[in-house]
Symmetry: C2
Subunit: 322 residues, 2 copies
Amino acid sequence: MNIDDIAKLAGVSKATVSRVLNHRPFVREETREKVWQVIRDMGFSPSIIARNLSLKKSQCIGVILPEIETGFYSELLKSMDLEATLRGYFLLVTFSHSARELGWGEKFLHSGMVEGLIVMMPEVSEVMIKNLMKWGRRVVVLNKKFSKPFVPTLNVDDVDASYQLVSHLLQHGYETVGIVTGPKENFDSQERLVGYMKALLDHGKKFDPSLVEEGDFTEISGYEAVERMSGRGKLPRAIFFSNDAMAMGGIRWLEKKGIKIPEEVAVAGFDDVELSKHLRLTTVRIPIKEMGKIAVESVLGIREEREIIVKGELVIRESCGC
Amino acid sequence: MNIDDIAKLAGVSKATVSRVLNHRPFVREETREKVWQVIRDMGFSPSIIARNLSLKKSQCIGVILPEIETGFYSELLKSMDLEATLRGYFLLVTFSHSARELGWGEKFLHSGMVEGLIVMMPEVSEVMIKNLMKWGRRVVVLNKKFSKPFVPTLNVDDVDASYQLVSHLLQHGYETVGIVTGPKENFDSQERLVGYMKALLDHGKKFDPSLVEEGDFTEISGYEAVERMSGRGKLPRAIFFSNDAMAMGGIRWLEKKGIKIPEEVAVAGFDDVELSKHLRLTTVRIPIKEMGKIAVESVLGIREEREIIVKGELVIRESCGC
DNA sequence: GTGAAAGCGCTAACAC
DNA sequence: GTGTTAGCGCTTTCAC
C-alpha cells in the first residue's frame, strides 16, 4: 500500500495525497477529508525512506556514546532523545568502539545516513574529530575541551559550580568548610577542588589542608572520609562532598554518630542525583536536560556558537542549613 | 556526486558501478579496478537512503530504553550495538517516554523506518506490545515475563543463577550460609531469594530466618546488613549478597572488623560488575554480551524461539574460598 | 561482461 | 484546487 494506491482509492492524484499528508494548503476541504478518510481506512503510513530520498535528508542524528557508562550519559541521551523527537529527528546511536573499528565516519556521515553527529567520548582526539568533520556534516563534541576551538563543544563549568556552592556556605557564615574530593587524578575532581579553593580565597579564608580528604566518588568512601576527618580532630562546620554519593556516605556516618545535620555539621554534595531530593541534600545540578537540548540544536545548526559552557545550578535544600 | 557521475568518469554504466560497489561477480577485473580507482579518487560513498529505498529495507533496528537506568541497559545496548553493527544494521534508539507520547509505533514501525523493535521497558503491558506488533514488524521484549508467550521474550534465569551460586557454597561445605536480599518488593530480589532457599532445601539445610537481612542494593545497605547480622549473634560462615554493590559494602565492614575473607567469612555477590574482578569477588555474571546478540538475532528473525531464557554464569574468585 | 531502462515511494515545479 | 511529470540515487532485470 503506497501513495498511489491511496490516490486511486480517493479518486485524486498522488500529488494531492502528498499535500494532505503534509498538511499543505490549497486542497479543498472536502477533498482533504475524503483523502484522510481513505488513509485512515487503509491504515496507511507513508514511507519515511522514500520521503527522505526525495527531500535529500535522513532525519537522523548520530550519537557516539563512551565505552564506560556512569549514568550521566544515559541521562544526556534521554534528554537528547526528547529534543530530537520533538523536532522530528531520530537518534542513531553507537558506542565509541564500534564507531572506531567499523568505519562509522564513512558509513554514517558520508553515506548520508545521519545529518550530523554528537560525540560523547572523553578520550576522543583532535585528529579523530577532524577525520569525522571531513565528511562535511556538523559535528558537536560534549565534555571535552580542546586547546583550539575547531569544532563546536559543549562543556560544564565545574569550577564555577563548586565555587557557587562553597561561596554559598561561606556567605552563610560557616567558619570552617571542609571538602571531600574525588580521586586526585580525576579532572572533574580537580576542577571542583579549584572552585573550592577559589571560593575560600575570595572570602578571605585560608586553605587548611587538614580539612581536605580524598574519596573515590563512592558512597563508602564518603563515609570513611568523614570518619578520618573526625579522627584528626574537630569536624569542620560544613563539608562539601565532590559528589552526592559521597555526601550520602558522609551523612550515614554523621547520623550514626548522632551528629545533627545541619545544626552541628552542614553538608553539601554535587550532581543532584535522584535520591538527593529525598535526603534534602543541598547540591549542584548539572543541567542535563538543557545540555541535551543544546547538543541537538547545535548539531542541527540552530545554534552556531563554537564553545558552549553551561553553568551548574545551585540546589539549596535543608542539609546546608541556609 | 552520485553513482551516475562515477559511471561517467569511469566510462561505464551505473549498473556496472553498482555491481562493483556491491562486490557482485560478472565484472571484468580491469573494469572493476578502474571503477574502484574513480570511487577512491572522488571519495565517493553511495547514498544509503537511496539504496534502502531501492531494496525496500532500512537497515535500522529500533530500541526502546527504559526511563530509569541502572547501567545494565547501557551495557545491553552496547552489546546490541556490536552485534547490529557487525550485521550491517543501525540502532535507532528512544526512551519509553518518547515512545509512548510521540507515536513511536506509527512513526517508526509502520513508516518503515525500522525493520524491527527491541523493547526494554520493565513496565510494558501486553496491550502496548500488541499495539506495536500490529504494524507487522518483529518485536522482541527483554526482561519481562508474560503469562502467555504471544511475543518473543528474552529473560535471565535469576532463580537458577542464585541457586548455582548458593549450591556452590554449600557444596564447599560451609555449614551456614546467610543472605542479604534486595528490597522485598523487587522481583529480581525475590527470585534470588527463591534460588537461595531452593539450594538450601536441595542440600538438606533448613532455612534460618536469622540469616536473612534485607538491603536495598546499595553499598551502604550491604555494610549495614552485615553489621545487623553480626549484632544478632555469630555471623554465618558464608554470606550471599544479592548484588555486588552490597557485597562490597559487606566486605568493607568485615575488613574494618578485621574479619578475614574467606577464612572466617566467605562472601559472594551477584552481577559481576567491573569492580568485582579487582576485589576478587565470587559472583554470578549475567551474560549481557550474549543477551545483546540474541536480542538482535531474534529481532532480525535469525532466531525463532518464543521464550529465550539465558542462564547466569558462576564466576568463582577468591572471596568464597572455594 | 556490460548497458538501458524500469522501478522503489515520495516531493515539488509547473501546467491546467 | 488539482493533476502531470520529472526527479531523488540506487538496484536489478533483461537485452545485447
